[in-house]
């Protein structure tokens, strides 16, 4: 009997008080959707958790109208201090119900309870607490005095961190004075609906936050809605591209947080024990279904064998299995479609000549599972070194000089994250300077904090979430006065409902595709480098 054999220690689901059916959350109430409802399942067991309403175009209209009303009549007239108080309430309610939220998230998403309990849900509370304090301090957000909110924000989030991505989107939007229509991911709608209950407990004014469930077409309808002022999307680069096209020519302000192929660079003077742990958490955290995952390991050639051997040894001690078990390190893959993608890309890795290795592990029969995998002998031209796999698959490449490491790290259209492992401070800083990525972790990996801006370079998207920068994504500078003119806006409260941009654009020929042609938008965070897939996904109405 090895030390890996242990008695199961599952977290009880008795803390949950789930309903068998959930509606849409519009204007403060749960209402029936007009689309065809769907079942949300546990990816670990494939058992149905609840039946979820689907929002169609009519429901999107209702939600946007509710958000607009709430913006005009309530939220934009509230003082920053009062907006902040609501956000503080939400933060506290999340903390109070944290165990319940963690269990629900692990159930619906498949990620280990260890992560939802210790990372996802605590960060959700932290995010609301952080932005709560900003609500009455917007003059210091970096846009000058009296910055304006934008209006109604359309937000579409992915399935990999369902509740955390909701918090990243809603907290800064509300602090800045916007109202929200958020669409959760099709495979993980549950915690957003529990969050809606929290909003009711917080007595947030009706319509300030509206939560819709549905697939990619619901998301497309939402971001293309004419009465939306801000679009924030986290998901795949191909869908991000489609959104960037569809908002072209409109005045919608856009934030995109898209795919990545993060390089984790290990120099020969790295603190090796910490580096091994960092590499593991960099790619196996959340089953590797993380846009900023360190999916390309770049190891200095002279320590390659040592690092790979130790990685394999460490990987053999990871416990794969029941997400609700407190001992589990690696949980279930979120969906059958995602499992298929991971499987396909891994097979291609083998076909292209890379060496595949996984520890022996007994995967459950039901559910979606993939053993943690390492590929060695990977070259930069391999698909597994270029495409975002979005699974527990690490590609190991080597380098000899820092310059080569930097070149290889930057050799990708993505630019979201990177890691550097070295005990030499001057080298860490020099390399960090030259990496084209929005978040760089030196001698650590996959750290998140509400005060720390997060977001990509290049095709990993634009705009930042977190920190002062994340707040600015939901604000515009005060309207500039024409010389000698009376100020147009005395205060935010008097501003017209549909705020004019600081620079009125010429009447554009809006190139908004009709709904039928609109790209399917679902916040799957997987991505394909082939933009040709856009057409197919649009036709299928779902990007998965």
């Amino acid at each position: 009997m090895s030390f890996l054999d242990y008695a199961p220690a599952p977290e009880s689901t008795s803390i949950l008080n789930l309903r068998s059916e959930y509606g849409l959350f519009i204007d403060g109430d749960f209402v029936d959707g007009h689309g065809t409802p769907f079942d949300t399942i546990s990816p670990a067991t494939e058992k149905t958790i609840a039946r979820i309403a689907t929002a169609d175009a009519h429901d999107v209209d209702l939600a946007v109208a509710a958000a607009r009303r709430a913006y005009d009549r309530t939220w934009s007239r509230l003082s920053g201090a009062d907006r902040g108080k609501y956000l503080f309430r939400i933060a506290r309610l999340v903390q109070e119900r944290s165990r319940e939220l963690a269990v629900a998230e692990s159930l619906d998403n498949g990620k280990p309870i260890k992560e939802t309990r210790d990372v996802d849900v605590p960060l959700v509370a932290a995010w609301f607490f952080y932005y709560a304090g900003w609500a009455d301090k917007l003059d210091h957000a970096g846009l000058g005095a009296n910055p304006r909110s934008l209006g109604v924000a359309a937000q579409v989030i992915p399935w990999n961190f369902p509740l955390l991505m909701l918090a990243w989107k809603i907290a800064p939007a509300l602090a800045a004075g916007n109202t929200v229509v958020l669409k959760s991911a099709e495979s993980t709608p549950l915690t957003a609906l529990l969050f809606a209950e929290i909003l009711q407990q917080a007595e947030l004014p009706d319509g300030v936050v509206n939560i819709l469930s549905g697939a990619g077409d619901t998301g497309a309808t939402l971001v293309n809605h004419a009465d939306v002022d801000k679009v924030a999307f986290t998901g795949s680069t191909s869908v991000g591209r489609a959104i960037a096209r569809s908002v072209a020519g409109t005045q919608k302000k856009l934030t995109l947080e898209l795919g990545g192929k993060g390089a984790n660079i290990v120099f020969d003077d790295a603190p090796i024990d910490q580096a091994i742990e960092g590499i593991i958490s960099g790619i196996y955290f959340n089953q590797g279904q993380v846009c900023c995952a360190g999916s390309r390991l770049l190891v200095q050639e002279n320590v390659h064998d040592e690092v790979v051997d130790r990685l394999k040894a460490r990987l053999s001690t990871l416990r794969v299995g029941d997400p609700l078990d407190k001992n589990t390190d690696v949980g279930a893959i979120n969906s059958a479609a995602q499992l298929k993608r991971i499987t396909e890309l891994s097979d291609i890795g083998e076909q292209e000549g890379a060496e595949r290795w996984s520890p022996e592990c007994n995967l459950p029969e039901k559910g979606f599972w993939f053993a943690p995998t390492i590929f060695t002998n990977v070259s930069t031209s391999h698909r597994i070194a270029r495409d975002e796999i979005f699974g527990p698959v690490l590609s190991v490449l080597t380098f000899r000089t820092p310059a080569e490491a930097i070149t290889k790290a930057n050799n990708t259209p993505y630019g979201l994250s990177a890691g550097i492992w070295s005990d030499k401070g001057s080298r860490v800083l020099a390399v960090a300077d030259r990496l084209r990525a929005g978040v760089i972790w030196a001698n650590t990996f996959n750290r998140f904090d509400p005060s720390s801006p997060f977001g990509g370079y290049k095709e990993s998207g634009f705009g930042r979430e977190g920190g002062r920068h994340g707040l600015a994504a939901y604000l515009a500078p005060a309207a500039r006065q024409a010389p000698g003119a009376v100020p147009v806006y005395e205060s935010v409260i008097d501003a017209p409902a549909a705020p004019a941009g600081p620079e009125p654009l010429p009447p554009a020929e809006p190139a908004i595709p009709s709904l039928a042609e609109a790209p399917a938008i679902d916040a799957t965070a997987t991505s394909s480098s082939a933009s040709a897939t856009d057409a197919t996904t649009a036709a299928e109405g779902n990007v998965r």
């Binding site: 932290a126 634009f462 009125p504 020929e509």
Partner: protein, 287 residues
């Protein structure tokens, strides 16, 4: 007997050199009344692509220079502009058909605006960056960095020098390199500015200037995969929504057209529009 003047050949400015358009094409620049002033090079798709190559090649040097250094190099341009003031005033008065006083005012404002931007080079990162108080033992800092190669459609109307400066200076301050499509109708001050640049300390390729038809060239730049951002400041008369759609293919950062007297007004946001925020975490461990 008056001396016979020597007219200037107006050419493109790519990679620090003055080529004619590879297409061999030119077009007439005229006074308001339609009298011939000069032939300007009519840049082609190939010229635009050459300019992107030059801009990419110049990027690491320019973006890697210290802010203090970039600030001095940019300030030096203002010094040289001041020395050539009369030439710019003549060209503007001739082609834009404005009074000398108006031309003088435009040139002065352009030079002053250039100086205003030059002063930001070693400051914008301090104002736009932040030290982040994360809840853990980590050093955490966010700094803005240049986006990369920026394609710019300069303002097309009268006020050609001021418009050009308003479009180009903020992108350069942050350390971007640029490919600029000058005003089609009033290209002379842009070309003369390129002669200033060539004798300044700006490395070749940092600023590349194309004259010709924005409607023809801009689509190639908007869809070019090695261009990181698109400034449509002067593209109001073009089919700029199509340009923005083309730019979405590689998720370029796009700044929309501006119109009216305030178009391109100097402000920090024009600098930060073409920057990327990089956040660096480092573990704080015990010694």
């Amino acid at each position: 007997m008056s001396r016979l003047a020597i007219p200037k050949t107006y050419k493109l400015y790519i990679g620090g050199k003055f080529p004619r358009s590879e297409s061999g094409r030119v077009y007439e620049v005229t006074t308001k009344e339609g009298a011939f002033v000069a032939n300007a090079a009519k840049a082609s798709r190939k010229d635009a692509r050459d300019a992107v190559v030059a801009a990419r090649a110049a990027l690491s040097g320019w973006s890697g220079a210290t802010g203090y250094n970039r600030g001095q190099v940019l300030y030096r341009i203002a010094e040289l502009l001041e020395g050539r003031r009369a030439q710019f005033i003549d060209e503007i008065a001739t082609t834009e058909g404005v009074t000398r006083t108006a031309a003088e005012a435009q040139v002065d404002e352009a030079i002053d605006r250039w100086v205003w931007y030059a002063g930001w080079a070693d400051k914008y990162a301090q104002v736009a960056g932040s030290g982040n108080p994360v809840a853990g033992p980590y050093f955490n800092i966010s700094v803005p960095e240049p986006t990369g190669v920026v394609a710019v459609v300069a303002p097309q109307a009268e006020g050609s020098l001021l418009g050009f400066v308003s479009a180009v200076a903020p992108a350069l301050v942050a350390g971007n390199t640029v490919v600029v499509i000058a005003s089609e109708r009033y290209p002379l001050s842009a070309v003369s500015l390129s002669e200033v640049l060539a004798t300044s300390d700006v490395p070749g390729g940092v600023i590349n200037i194309l004259t010709g038809s924005p409607a023809e060239i801009a689509p190639w730049l908007a869809s070019h995969a090695d261009v990181n951002a698109l400034d449509l400041l002067g593209a109001g008369e073009l089919d700029w929504v199509d340009l923005q759609i083309a730019a979405a293919e590689t998720l370029k950062r796009v700044s929309p057209p501006e119109n009216g007297p305030d178009a391109g007004a100097p402000r920090l946001e024009r600098i930060t529009a073409f920057t990327e925020t990089k956040t660096v975490w480092h573990t704080k461990g015990l010694l």
